[in-house]
């Protein structure tokens, strides 16, 4: 029989069997314990497989990376903080750090701001679902595909020849000469253009979540405000925005993490040239081109440390919300 068919059968039969079987097994194991301990132990037994996966695929590599970040390029001896010193003194990595900060700030403001704006505006229109679908669709494509698409948008051909890039062609229509967009690093224009690509993809995500939260705001509240004479801006600032704050916080956190992870767009569009380097790209370079595992791990650790405060804030907020409930 075709091996694939066998695998398919095993999956269809085996997976539910294993699932149910595991629960039954845990019940058998629990029989060994006194009655009052059972409710305390049961959750841990049920969590055990998920915890095992997390430990093997997440915790262990994180610890491994942390250890490697203190080792030399081949992992044969410990060199203390040398890799971190290198990270903060090497102009290439400092440039990457600076760019990541720009990504963080600009992308979050653009994504969340645009998402909020679109969600609020679209709420009042009849063709709401169509509009939302249009904005959301770019999220469905891969970042590499987005990079390729926008590479054409920003394309530059020599002045005087036919421009195939949308931006330069439009400028040509206005009589302005073509600009090599992705090469312009003054005022980080090219970095911001790369951020635009990522924003194009992720605004839909922000908009959808904010829109859902928006619909959760009680209509009576808004109507009462309007009856009392508040204009739209006052309604937005005084009622909608404060009530949306928890959602905005969650969305911002997600976008901040996505911005810090930015890699595909940079790799495909500029390969990090022209001062567009980001930490993830540097990490790949150190790891695979230079074969220096120590430095790559150090960069990964810096990224992790950068995200921890954001995560901590998020968890505190969740806890506060749980406490209210």
């Amino acid at each position: 029989m075709d091996p694939r068919l066998i695998t398919a059968i095993i999956v269809v039969v085996g997976v539910p069997t294993v699932l149910i079987g595991y629960i039954v097994l845990t019940e058998q194991v629990l029989r060994l314990f006194p009655e009052r301990l059972k409710p305390k132990i049961r959750p841990w037994l049920w969590l055990a497989p998920a915890l095992a996966f997390l430990i093997v695929w997440l915790v262990y590599p994180t610890i491994g990376t942390a250890i490697r970040s203190f080792q030399n390029s081949t992992g044969t001896k410990f060199i203390g903080f040398d890799n971190f010193v290198w990270f903060f003194t090497n102009p290439a990595t400092i440039g990457a750090l600076k760019n990541n900060v720009i990504w963080l700030v600009v992308m979050t403001i653009l994504c969340v701001g645009l998402g909020l704006l679109i969600a609020v505006l679209v709420d009042r229109v009849r063709y709401e679902s169509v509009a939302k679908a249009f904005i959301f669709v770019p999220l469905a494509i891969s970042m590499v595909a987005a990079g390729v698409i926008w590479k054409f948008m920003y394309d530059y051909q020599t002045a005087g020849t036919t421009q195939i890039g949308t931006l330069n062609a439009s400028l040509g229509g206005l009589g302005i000469g073509p600009i090599p967009w992705l090469q312009v690093s003054d005022f980080s224009v090219n970095t911001i253009l790369l951020i635009v690509v990522m924003t194009w993809m992720w605004t839909g995500f922000c908009m959808v979540i904010i829109s859902a939260a928006l619909k959760g705001i009680s209509v009576e509240l808004l109507e009462a405000a309007r009856v009392d004479g508040a204009n739209e801006w006052q309604v937005f600032r005084g009622i909608i925005l404060p009530l949306l704050l928890p959602t905005l916080a969650v969305v911002s956190t997600t976008i901040i993490i996505t911005a810090l992870k930015a890699f595909d767009i940079v790799y495909v569009m500029t390969s990090g040239n022209f001062d567009t380097e980001v930490m993830a790209n540097r990490m790949i370079k150190e790891m695979f081109t230079n074969g220096n595992f120590g430095r790559a791990s150090a960069i990964a650790m810096v990224l992790l440390l950068a995200i921890i405060p954001v995560m901590a804030l998020n968890i505190r907020r969740f806890r506060a919300q749980e406490a209210i409930r």
Binding site: I10, G14, G21, V24, D155, Y267, N273, T289, G291, N292
Partner: protein, 449 residues
């Protein structure tokens, strides 16, 4: 919970669990058996001199190959291995990736490797020498050494072990032009003669030079070829050798002069720095064939004839070349070449057979005939046109032969070199800062060795 009611159910489902877990375990067991590995035989299946591919029964076996070639080059490689596939019944499974470094670095670390692989360069090959199979047992070394020029054999040898063979070479630094646009009665012998030729023909094209350095993650490499050719002819092969060994600093006046000359070329190139950085190396020469011509000359290796506008142009009538002129007549006759190194990671009968086939003249003739390749095997002479033949002869008869310097540098240095070219083309005024940063990269990259 009532013990009596759960007992029969408990027994049945426990049995189910056992079967399910067993089935899942068995399934993963069968899936993990790799179909390609077979016990290797001690004796090589064919000698390097036999013209026909091995006819040992390899039917149904697959050899996995990874290389950087894509598009036209990939088609050419597949045509090259087809006779072998037809005669042995085995199959070649080729994957092309520009990210060869990444794939092989992870492969060497994890043990998941293809059977044969194109190697990025002799410098990188040295780092992986322990994982590569000694080809002395696969090829007839005597025949290989007699059929291949000595420098190429040496480049593939690490500590006496032959681990890399060249299946294709190229000669770098040829100056291409369109004979319909300008006539070159005698090729310029010196750089000054070339400048005179440019001045005489200035009106015939928008600018003297076409340059294009874009190439994805490897952007900048065609600029490095310029610098290497200039260093070779301005400072000589000894400085060149010490330079790629990391013993000559980048801020050294000899190297700086080369960069400055390249800067002059970029300043006089079609579209200026912006276009140079935005144009892919394969299409950089297209303005040669435009009406009116965008440029007079393109500096590129022999393999350009298979790419971009050269593909559809007619050899001899639409394009021709002359070798890079001397700059310092002390170093006349110097030629820079490069090649595609191949190595073997898994010793299987099918891989041995394929490797032995790839170094033979008939195999290399296939690609040579398609165009854009020069064979590493001296006996492969099936060149499709006079131009390819001339470039092959130039390579074979070179007085001073050197290999592409950036391919011989450690990969970190090579990468910094590429980036430096891109930065320099963008802003030539930053030359000193760029060279200083290259020095820092050099100190870092070579100390690991």
């Amino acid at each position: 919970m009532n013990q009596r009611s759960t007992r029969p159910i408990g027994r049945a489902t426990t049995l189910f669990v056992a079967i399910g877990l067993l089935a899942a375990a068995c399934s993963s067991g069968t899936a993990s058996v790799a179909p390609t590995t077979a016990p290797g035989t001690a004796a090589p299946t064919t000698s390097g001199s036999s013209p026909a591919p091995s006819t040992a029964s390899l039917a149904g076996q697959t050899v996995t190959v990874i290389g950087t070639w894509g598009g036209d080059e990939e088609t050419a490689f597949k045509a090259m291995v087809k006779p072998w596939e037809d005669s042995t019944g085995a199959k070649v499974s080729y994957t092309g990736t520009r990210d060869l470094n990444t794939v092989l670095t992870t492969g060497v670390a994890s043990g998941v490797l293809p059977d044969l692989a194109g190697l990025p360069g002799p410098g990188q090959m040295t780092q992986w020498a322990d994982s590569l199979v000694d080809l002395g047992g696969v090829l007839d070394k005597a025949t290989y050494t007699s059929e291949t020029s000595a420098p190429l054999v040496d480049l593939g040898t690490v500590n006496g072990k032959l681990v890399g063979v060249f299946i294709k070479t190229s000669i770098k630094g040829l100056i291409w032009y369109d004979p319909k646009v300008l006539t070159v009665a005698t090729p310029p012998a010196t750089w000054d003669d070339l400048q005179k030729l440019i001045t005489d023909n200035k009106s015939k094209a928008a600018s003297p030079w076409c340059v294009g350095v874009e190439s994805g993650a490897a952007s900048g490499w065609s600029g490095t070829d310029w610098i290497e050719d200039l260093v070779l002819r301005q400072a000589g092969p000894d400085v060149y050798k010490q330079w790629y060994q990391g013993k000559v600093k980048w801020t050294d006046p000899a190297i700086k002069t080369a960069w400055q000359t390249f800067g002059d070329v970029v300043a006089n190139s079609y579209g200026g720095g912006n276009t140079v950085n935005a144009t892919n190396f394969a299409n950089a020469g297209d303005p040669l064939f435009k009406t009116p011509p965008g440029c007079l000359f393109l500096h590129q290796a022999s393999f350009i004839t298979g790419l971009g506008g050269f593909k559809t142009a007619t050899s001899g009538t639409d394009y021709n070349f002359f070798p890079f002129p001397d700059i310092n007549t002390q170093f006349t006759g110097a030629v820079e070449g490069a090649g595609d190194l191949f190595g073997m990671f898994h010793d299987t009968p099918a891989s041995r057979s394929l490797m032995a086939y790839l170094v033979t003249a008939p195999a290399q003739d296939v690609w040579v005939k398609i165009g854009g390749a020069i064979s590493a095997n001296k006996n492969a002479t099936d060149y499709p046109d006079a131009i390819s033949k001339r470039s092959a002869e130039l390579l074979a008869n070179s007085k001073i032969f050197v290999f592409d310097a950036s391919d011989l540098m450690p990969s970190a240095m090579n990468d910094a070199f590429w980036k430096a070219i891109v930065d320099y083309v963008k802003d030539p005024s930053k030359l000193d800062a760029i060279l200083a940063s290259l020095d820092t990269a050099q100190a870092d990259a070579y100390k690991a060795q």
